[in-house]
Subunit: 180 residues, 2 copies
């Protein structure tokens, strides 16, 4: 951040009144430019004993496998975002069952929210950011080709605790310095 997005003046970074955390702020117009973590929302679509994974068509982690997920948008409810991303990445129709995993990535200021979701039919196909959409049994999951630590964490917990009737939400996080 170099310029004030409100008035265009050169930005300052440091102490602002009544706040212990240094902030980007404008000494001309007074606006404080807060920066906060982003939510990544998605689903674990399941069909009988299989779950749906997407092979990424874009960087980062192109050609590796992930769950359908992406950034929550302004004016969306969290569940709406998870359904939209599932549709965009995999053209998959799902019904949310419950929140399953929450995973923080403090280094890059992201928090993942993955919902267990009932796949309603098999009419899925890759979206623009996906090369391939496939159903995997737990023993078929390509563990060496999973795109992100958040997704690996979620899949591991799913394979260890697959009863959708249970209500427990699994919390995890990356190591301090870890990016993805």
């Amino acid at each position: 951040m170099n310029y004030c997005s409100s008035c265009g003046h050169k930005i300052s970074f440091g102490k602002v009144p009544e706040d212990d955390i240094p902030r980007h702020h404008c000494e001309k117009c007074g606006v404080i430019h807060y920066q906060n973590p982003k939510m990544i929302v998605g689903t674990i679509p399941y069909w009988q004993d299989k779950i749906l994974l997407c092979k990424r068509a874009i960087e980062p982690r192109k050609d590796l496998w992930t769950l359908p997920a992406g950034f929550l948008e302004n004016n969306e409810k969290i569940e709406e975002g998870a359904l939209r991303e599932t549709e965009e990445e995999a053209n998959a129709d799902v019904e949310i069952v419950r929140l399953f995993a929450v995973y923080s990535l403090p280094k890059v200021s992201q928090v993942y929210f993955l919902f267990l979701a009932n796949l309603l039919n098999l009419d899925f196909r890759p979206g623009a950011e996906t090369l391939e959409v496939t159903l995997f049994k737990p023993e078929e999951i390509p563990w060496q080709e999973i795109a992100f630590s958040s997704i690996k964490f979620t899949l591991e917990k799913y394979c260890q605790n697959s009863e959708p009737s249970k209500e427990k939400v699994f919390f995890g996080s990356s190591e301090r310095g870890q990016l993805l």
Copy 2:
């Protein structure tokens, strides 16, 4: 948003490549300025059959009651943010038990995450943004003086489902046009 925070050029708003959602973007340097919802994280601190509420010292909703909560900061894990806010608002020492409520406010692009938390001692006192910190039995909660719809939702669910051993997370949201 009027100016590019990266190069200071006048900002544009509209279609960007490979995206259905119009974005603020800079036609000079090419940066796309994504805007995403923010997380508000906090706790429901309980002590025997009572829960802790804070009377707000600041706007919005000054003089009304809330749970200790605030914006998650960059480089924080979600649970760390909830603990920090509980300390800042109420100087209360708690231990997180589990996630209890998730509440979306799409109109203002916020999502609340409230964690059930065991209050470890009674050495709480108001922080800078709090006038008063008090323990309430369920039947003593001042329902007409609760600051936010997210907090009213959470307290209602808590009073109806107070067994901390259960794992269910309650999801709610404001009406489409509702601000707080």
